[in-house]
């Protein structure tokens, strides 16, 4: 019998169903990210990436829960390219959350969820910063004289030749020739005056607002890897957050033990020193720096100090006085104690006497508390 064959072809260009549900999935992933923010922002792969714009962070897609077997307790069947004998090793367990692809490369079901949807660093930052705000933002610190700044934000058919938009012009030319169906014999793309596109700009008043972060860290012997990593994470997000709000964010790194000095960023996070701790030294240093370089009338100043709180007892009253001065000239002062024990330090209790809400005191005991600390300081 002869078959009637129907072969058809339709226009599917408006078929968006997959994309619609995909964007819903993405929305839900973002909701989850918000809930997991505390864990995510301390992820080393982000912090150590220096936040380059195109950095993508691995993100598990949303899980679809069901009753299923424990993959790790199951006996699986596989196929080899050669004969396999009992005892042969196929692979190692992958570090949790790391790496792409399937955990073991085997089986059908449980491995699947390890595929990752990627959320760009920017997405993450946006979600994070949605929750934060800049406290005590001082409008007066905008200089009165604003200078104009051009902003290229439109494309037109007429304009200055110097501002020709080459890419769009070429596209127009290709489009026109495709429509006319008269492809040039020698296949040269010709540009006619109608193809030309120009970038145009508007001028906007530009308010230069400046902010400076004074990153202060205790580098005495008691500050270990963990403490440094925590403070680094905190500063990492802090800088990114401030850059979003200010044209110009400067950062100065001040390290101290019993004496304070300015160091480079690298030294700040890597070098460890020994000795005792005298916190007043760095407060003094910061105040001098502010007086010299950052007049409070023109700068939004954010000093943040991380320590393990192990301050020499006799120094506490001096530290308190200097801290009061520091709070006065700054928008917000953060004081973070990174502790692994459950008591808090005498310096902390001393500083608690300052009632000015501009002073934000936080204690971090665990990696995932960085997020709460950020929220405390920037709220």
């Amino acid at each position: 019998m002869a078959d009637d064959i129907i072969i058809s072809r339709d226009d599917w260009s408006l078929h968006r169903k997959g994309h619609l549900d995909q964007s819903r999935h993405k929305e839900k992933v973002e909701e989850v990210i918000k809930q997991q923010m505390g864990d995510l922002i301390v992820d080393e792969s982000i912090i150590l990436s220096d936040g380059k714009k195109n950095t993508k962070i691995p993100m598990r897609s949303l899980e679809e829960f069901r009753f299923r077997y424990d993959f790790n307790k199951q006996n699986h069947t596989g196929q080899g390219s050669k004969k396999m004998a009992p005892g042969d090793i196929l692979g190692r367990e992958q570090a949790a959350g790391k790496g792409r692809g399937k955990g073991s490369g085997a089986g059908e079901e449980p491995g699947q969820d390890i595929y990752e949807a990627e959320v760009s660093y920017e997405d993450l930052a946006n979600i994070l910063f949605e929750e934060l705000r800049l406290p005590n933002l001082d409008d007066k610190k905008r200089p009165l004289i604003a200078h104009d700044r051009p902003e290229f934000n439109d494309v037109r058919k007429k304009g200055l030749m110097a501002n020709v938009d080459k890419k769009r012009t070429l596209l127009e030319s290709i489009k026109r020739q495709a429509f006319s169906k008269k492809l040039d014999k020698d296949k040269k793309i010709k540009i006619t005056p109608e193809d030309l596109r120009f970038k145009t700009w508007e001028t906007r008043p530009n308010f230069e607002t400046n902010a400076v972060i004074l990153a202060m860290m205790d580098t005495s012997g008691s500050m270990g890897q963990f403490e440094k990593y925590i403070s680094r994470t905190f500063f990492f997000w802090m800088v990114r957050f401030l850059r979003l709000k200010y044209e110009n964010v400067e950062m100065r790194f001040l390290a101290h033990h019993t004496e304070a000095k300015e160091v480079t960023e690298e030294e700040f996070f890597t070098r460890g020193e020994s000795g005792g701790t005298r916190c007043s030294s760095v407060y003094k240093f910061a105040l001098d720096l502010i007086e010299k370089d950052y007049p409070p009338a023109h700068y939004n100043i954010y000093p943040v100090h991380f320590t393990d709180g192990d301050n020499i007892g006799s120094d506490n009253s001096r530290a308190l006085t200097l801290m009061k001065n520091l709070v006065e000239v700054s928008q917000v002062v953060g004081y973070g104690e990174i502790l692994r024990t459950h008591y808090s330090s005498t310096l902390m209790s001393t500083l608690k006497r300052i009632s000015d809400p501009k002073l934000r005191l936080v204690t971090i005991r665990d990696r995932n508390e960085v997020y709460d600390a950020l929220k405390t300081v920037f709220s």
């Binding site: 072809r9 599917w12 549900d21 009753f67 993959f71 196929q79 005892g87 090793i89």
Partner: protein, 487 residues
């Protein structure tokens, strides 16, 4: 473009003739050429039109990305209906499409004749699009978030339907009104085979298994069978163990509104429709691959076409590194069978078997050795080969196919400890459940049930009861007396 379609249509005609000449018998097939965008959507949803849910979006994104990165490619997609629909990927080359068309005809032959498909509705395209509309209406009426939250929970247990729906009296539970009027007794009787946890399927395989379920020494392998029969005869009412979780919810969940029951019933119907495809994946893909190769050999191909065909065919049956490529495994078994049996015997096998029986009956010693199959598991931090004896490999594969690879969960009662809670039981067959998933899923079932939901399972040889109430999941050892009984 028209000439291309014409050539394709001519080729399809020729292939259909060749295929029928070889004995394949299929519904007529409507082919449609679609862009990747559309094909991958169908692949993710399982159907050209289906209800909306983010999990499909996730699947679509994964699949599409694989395609965009050139990692994998779906050439075709067949829908099991009468007439069947087959979608071909735009940009397939002519010879690729020839292969795909042969492949499609063999699939449709399988759908038409395999017993497990005998009760799948042949108008599923229309049904599913009606489902999609109904769910969309609910979204408008009750709000998207509310519907979505409900569907999240139902989809989490969508596998727990009565997968033996192809045998016993024909069940039509889609009519909610009728279902509601049905007495409990009638329902239980209609359900035909009820699973009995303690008479697990694994017993015949489980000799090396650490779990000892046998309470008394079993004298012959069929002892338990007799026992079951005699018990039924004596009329003693053994407690029902209800396997169709979704149906149970529709009938007994205290707080479900009509629209919610309707959604459960929709998801149940679609799950039942897809189940035979899951349980015949290896066979069906093997069958289609086996036949496309034979069909292509009958066509007159140019040299370059022949090479292209060989290349594509070898990609399709490429062994994957650790997992098992169902195309490859399936086609190898069929080819192996074809060496020893007549074609008519092959046709008979494609009628009566599913993956489980197919592997159990036909994965031979030579094949296991020829394909270098082995069992492996996690030992410490390593994945290690544990066995390569052919019977153990076969049995392990079979075990993974039991119940479609899903744990068997049955309902024991709906007034647990007198508080209206639902008690489920995991029929432990040697492998523990994923506890994180168990806890999350239990909370979802609780959301559906309204009151608390408990599940009995075994973790590291100890019986535990997990209970979810008020959004909290707790765990406790099953009571002592029960445990003693279990031993």
């Amino acid at each position: 473009m028209d000439s291309e379609m014409e050539a394709l249509s001519k080729a399809a005609q020729e292939i259909a003739q060749v295929a029928r000449g070889m004995g394949l018998d299929f519904y007529s097939v409507n082919f449609e050429i679609v862009p990747a965008e559309a094909l991958y959507t169908f692949g993710a949803y399982g159907m050209p039109v289906r209800f909306t849910h983010w999990s499909f979006g996730k699947a679509f994104y994964k699949m599409k990305m694989q395609y965009d990165l050139n990692l994998s490619r779906i050439y075709e997609l067949v829908v099991n209906t009468n007439p069947a629909y087959a979608f071909l990927l735009e940009g397939n080359r002519f010879v690729q499409n020839k292969l795909v068309i042969g492949h499609v005809y063999a699939h449709v032959d399988f759908f038409k004749h395999n017993h497990y498909f005998s009760r799948t509705p042949k108008d599923m395209v229309e049904r599913m699009s009606a489902h999609a509309e109904r769910i969309h209406d609910y979204e408008i009426k009750y709000g998207r978030d509310k519907v979505e939250k409900f569907m999240d929970a139902v989809l989490a247990i969508q596998e727990h339907v009565d997968y033996r729906a192809h045998i016993g009296p024909l069940q039509e539970f889609e009519n909610l009104g009728k279902l509601e009027r049905m007495s409990e007794r009638q329902l239980f009787n209609q359900m035909g085979c009820q699973g009995n946890c303690d008479k697990g399927v694994v017993k015949s395989l489980g000799k090396g298994n650490s779990v000892k379920q046998t309470k008394k020494g079993v004298a012959s392998p069929y002892e338990d069978l007799w026992e079951d029969l005699s018990r039924d005869d004596s009329g003693v009412d053994s407690p029902h163990e209800f396997e169709d979780l979704l149906l149970y919810l529709i009938k007994f969940a205290p707080g479900l509104e009509h629209w919610q029951k309707d959604i459960v019933s929709i998801i149940r119907e679609e799950s039942l429709y897809f189940y035979p495809q899951i349980e015949t994946k290896i066979m069906n893909e093997g069958w289609a691959t086996f036949w496309h190769a034979r069909i292509m050999r009958e066509l007159s191909l140019t040299d370059s076409e022949a090479i292209e065909f060989a290349l594509m065919h070898s990609q399709v049956v490429q062994p994957s590194r650790l997992g098992l490529n169902p195309y490859y495994l399936g086609v190898k078994i069929w080819e192996h069978l074809a060496e020893k049996r007549s074609i008519s015997e092959l046709f008979e096998l494609r009628e009566i078997e599913n993956d489980l029986s197919f592997i159990r009956n036909h994965l031979s010693k030579e094949l296991v050795e020829d394909l270098n199959l082995f069992n492996y598991r996690k030992v410490g931090a390593h994945w290690q080969v544990t066995e390569n004896e052919w019977e153990k490999v076969r049995d392990n594969l079979v075990k993974q196919l039991v119940n479609g690879g899903h744990p068997r969960i049955v309902v024991i009662e709906r007034d647990f400890e007198g508080k209206g809670g639902l008690l489920l039981k995991h029929c432990h067959e040697g492998v523990d459940l994923d506890i994180i998933y168990l806890e999350k899923t239990l909370a979802l079932v609780q959301f559906l049930w309204g009151k608390s939901v408990a599940l009995e399972t075994v973790v590291d040889n100890k019986k535990f009861i997990y209970e979810s109430s008020n959004g909290m999941v707790s765990r406790r050892l099953a009571s002592k007396s029960e445990e003693n009984n279990g031993k």
